[in-house]
């Protein structure tokens, strides 16, 4: 706290120090894209600049090492055929600029090039990132740049400059909003020469599903963000289809696109329109909710009713999709989903033989199968114990009796085939309302799920949820509850992600189309026009109120703080300073009213306030303390 207070009351540092701060701030985004040799050079140059004993060969040494580091950085990764690549070009300019800045800084001379270098570096960093974090960081750096410019003129304490700068930005905000909405946008397609992310997070999802005794490791990594235009569907319908799987081997479920070709879709109901923000996963597939019916160009509907993009997704992708939640899917070849080998699951086969041979309808058999699963009293555990890797299904149902969705769905699908019902496993994500904020839904890695579809003659493929038959949930022993699992954290995280989504959608994603939509609404919808005008007026008023609050906020100096406490002490004795009364008059009045000698207090105040000699603030504070004691 003391450090913060001292920092806030720091008088204006030297121009060099302010410039150094600006350069450091503007270099930070570059650290994420610069090659390791250049980063190493950067830290070396920092030591070089800070070292006390300077030599006339310093610049030469720095130039040689800097040049070498740039050559090493780029020689190892690129060849000159890549010169046209934007990444190479921008990275090279960035490295050269950093070399020039460090060389100039090492000389200790502040020239105009050094002064404009923070702006150049910041502008270059716009090429690297297009995220909300970059937007906020850029605004922060811009705020600091303006603060530095003002501080050079104000020559006062940091807190005064901060207050002034906040006021300046607050009053600028309505103007920025108006400009942002109304400034004509370029109608050309957005340039796509930015950096492709080298790192994308591959998720736990895969097109194939192996049934094993390996544990499932849930993570809170966000797979996609979904925003439903007309309200979020029921929680029971939040199934995001990844792939439809056909048993190919004993323990592996795989896709077989040829199988799904003859399927017919009927009775489509409950259409939802939604925007998906798909995080990069290096694959082509998407996860639509229910059954996808509308999708943009360069997205293709697959035979298994899933969607795929033209190219693997390496950058965050925003897509507008439409799906139906209620539908009937009829297959032309349901018998293809009946294959199984009874010898692979002898216990299961024996246990279900009666049900298989019963005269019940397939629907009744399916219900009985669910009851059978419930009677087995199987626990849900992400870290299953006691499963026999050679016979997972039997050991899951009869011996170990614990497992997760993969085991439940695999066993249920096999069991269904045994009793004569065509079945298949569908993998994807099952989201829940815990990750929801209004119409916004987060789908995380831990929502990865597998369920079963059974083919019932009159209904077609019907979704079944065998995992819901679990008897209890086994928590991992000795598992520490992480911060991520706390409800509060989740709620804050959801809100944060939602805000981020809204800002990304409306700020970073604002384009000519959205602009035209707003303009059209303003021209045609009087209520919208009124709402829009009222919002702008409200924003202006809020900014003005905040501006006033900031102006009157806090004291100006340590002396003012001390005087404030003195006024407080005297006001307890009902001695109040009048509006236009000088401190001297006020203290003299207090002296006569209290019948105490305040001579030293008045004298030290005057020295601090008016004398050219440096006054002793501690002595003044001591006098205030003494007065406080006397008044007790």
């Amino acid at each position: 706290m003391q450090f913060l207070r001292n920092l806030l009351y720091t008088r204006r540092p030297s121009l060099q120090m302010l410039l150094d701060a600006a350069i450091v701030l503007s270099i930070v985004p570059h650290l994420f894209v610069l090659k390791s040799f250049t980063i190493a050079y950067l830290f070396f140059s920092l030591w070089f600049i800070l070292k006390k004993n300077k030599s006339k060969y310093d610049s030469l040494v720095l130039f040689t090492i800097g040049g070498l580091s740039i050559v090493l950085s780029f020689f190892s990764t690129y060849n000159f055929s890549d010169f046209s690549r934007m990444q190479f070009f921008v990275s090279l300019i960035s490295s050269l600029l950093i070399l020039a800045v460090t060389l100039q800084r090492a000389t200790g001379i502040i020239n105009v090039y050094l002064k404009i270098s923070p702006i150049m570096l910041l502008m270059l960093s716009f090429f690297f990132f297009d995220t909300i974090e970059m937007l906020f960081y850029s605004l922060f750096v811009f705020f600091i740049f303006i603060l530095i410019s003002i501080w050079l003129k104000m020559r006062t304490s940091l807190i005064d400059v901060l207050k002034f700068n906040f006021a300046l930005f607050l009053l600028s905000l309505p103007l920025v909003v108006i400009l942002f909405i109304s400034f004509p946008r370029i109608s050309f397609k957005k340039a796509d020469f930015g950096f492709r992310s080298d790192r994308y997070s591959s998720n736990v999802y895969s097109k194939n599903m192996n049934v094993s005794d390996l544990p499932f490791k849930p993570s809170s990594q966000v797979v996609m963000e979904v925003f439903f235009e007309d309200g979020i569907p029921d929680e029971k319908d939040l199934y995001f289809r990844g792939s439809t799987l056909f048993l190919s081997e004993k323990f592996q479920w795989k896709e077989n696109n040829n199988l799904y070709m003859k399927e017919q879709i009927r009775n489509l109901k409950g259409k939802v329109t939604y925007t998906v923000v798909q995080n990069p996963h290096g694959e082509k597939w998407l996860y639509p909710i229910g059954l996808p019916v509308t999708f943009p160009q360069k997205v293709f509907l697959q035979n298994d009713h899933t969607l795929e993009t033209e190219k693997p997704i390496y950058q965050q992708k925003r897509l507008k999709l439409g799906s139906v939640l209620q539908y009937s899917l009829f297959s032309g070849n349901p018998e293809s989903y009946m294959k199984y080998n009874a010898q692979d699951y002898p216990k299961t086969f024996n246990a279900l033989e009666k049900l298989k041979d019963s005269s019940l309808s397939l629907e009744e058999k399916a219900s009985k199968l669910l009851e059978f699963f419930q009677k087995q009293k199987i626990a849900y555990s992400i870290n299953p114990k006691g499963l026999d890797p050679k016979n997972i299904i039997d050991s899951f149902l009869f011996d170990a009796k614990n497992g997760y969705c993969t085991h439940f769905s695999s066993s249920f699908a096999i069991a269904a085939r045994i009793i004569g019902i065509p079945s298949r496993v569908v993998s994807g994500y099952k989201a829940n309302y815990e990750s929801r904020v209004e119409n916004y839904l987060l789908v995380k890695q831990k929502d990865a799920h597998a369920w079963v579809e059974l083919y019932l003659p009159k209904k077609g493929w019907v979704r079944f949820e065998p995992t819901a038959t679990h008897y209890r949930v086994i928590e991992e022993a000795n598992k520490k509850r992480t911060l991520e699992e706390s409800k509060l954290f989740q709620s804050i995280n959801n809100q944060y992600m939602y805000m981020k989504y809204l800002i990304t959608n409306w700020v970073l994603g604002f384009d000519r189309l959205k602009q035209m939509k707003i303009l059209e609404s303003l021209l045609n919808d009087t209520f919208y026009l009124l709402k829009f005008t009222a919002s702008i007026i409200a924003l202006v008023l809020v900014c003005i109120v905040l501006f006033q609050v900031i102006r009157s906020w806090g004291a100006k100096s340590k002396l003012d703080l001390a005087v404030k406490s003195l006024l407080k002490i005297l006001s307890r004795k009902k001695i109040h300073k009048e509006k236009n009364e000088s401190m001297e008059k006020f203290l003299n009045r207090a002296e006569s009213k209290l019948n105490l000698s305040l001579y030293k207090l008045i004298e030290s105040y005057h020295i601090l306030k008016y004398s050219k000699e440096k006054g002793n603030l501690e002595q003044f504070n001591e006098e205030i303390k003494r007065l406080k004691k006397q008044l007790r």
Binding site: F127, L135, M154, F164, F169, L171, S172, V176, G194, V507
Partner: protein, 253 residues
């Protein structure tokens, strides 16, 4: 750049901050008040000084103030809320007579350097510029009347200050040391009772004569010599008229 919106937003902030800073810049000059305070004696073809009282009427500080009058500049880093500062300008006037101080102006680059804000202050003050003191020294003129008593600047001693005496005769060291008001006495002042200057009997053109008379009036005043000056049918007496009034008469001749 992938996303133009970051660039747009930065650009809009830049424009908006620049516009709003203009408002703050104007606000930084708006509460300033300039009031003419005093001035030194102005002589033709030489530099003189005048002072202005600069006041900040508002309860916020003002920064980066640069005051200009003709070719001279005075800078104030800041002016605290509800406070005043005195600034002094030095300027030269070529000719004797009445010199009109019309206005001065203040400039500021606060808060951002992209735009210079300025404001004029009306001073509207007349200053009488005395003729340039030039010519033969009074000491030389009266040297032929020199007595054995000594030179014009020979110091005799100090006596008690009497009412009506010229303030320039005060002996300041005595006042400082003993807190008593003493007056300086020169040998010469006691030997020459009263000097007589006559404009019409002097040689040279009008300006030369006025310059000469100005020099003598100043020297006589310095050495506490009483004199009379006849000019334009009027006799001015140093024992009755103030030195500035006599110099004004010369300035406005």
């Amino acid at each position: 750049m992938h996303n133009y919106n970051i660039v747009y937003i930065m650009m809009f902030f830049l424009v908006s901050v620049a516009l709003v800073s203009t408002f703050f810049g104007v606000l930084n000059l708006y509460p300033l008040q300039a009031e003419f305070l005093n001035h030194s004696q102005f002589f033709a073809a030489s530099r003189g000084k005048f002072s202005l009282l600069i006041t900040n009427d508002e309860n916020f500080n003002l920064y980066d103030l640069h005051f200009f009058f003709e070719d001279s500049k005075v800078s104030l880093e800041s002016l605290e809320a509800l406070s005043s500062k005195v600034i002094e300008f030095e300027t030269s006037v070529e000719h004797r007579g009445v010199y009109q101080l019309d206005s001065c102006h203040v400039e500021s680059l606060f808060p951002l350097i992209h735009e210079k804000k300025s404001r004029n202050f009306s001073i509207d003050k007349h200053i009488v510029v005395y003729p340039k003191p030039d010519g033969i020294s009074l000491m030389k003129v009266v040297s032929h009347q020199r007595h054995q008593s000594g030179d014009i600047s020979d110091f005799k001693g100090i006596t008690r200050f009497e009412d009506g005496e010229n303030l320039s005769a005060i002996h300041w060291p005595s006042l400082a040391k003993n807190d008593t008001l003493m007056s300086k006495r020169f040998i010469f002042s006691q030997t020459i009772k009263k000097l007589k200057f006559n404009f019409s009997q002097m040689n040279g053109n009008t300006e030369e004569k006025l310059s000469q008379l100005t020099k003598w009036v100043l020297e006589a005043s310095e050495f506490h010599l009483d004199f009379t000056l006849e000019i334009a049918g009027e006799t001015l007496d140093s024992t009755k008229d103030d030195v500035d009034a006599i110099l004004t008469k010369l300035a406005l001749y």
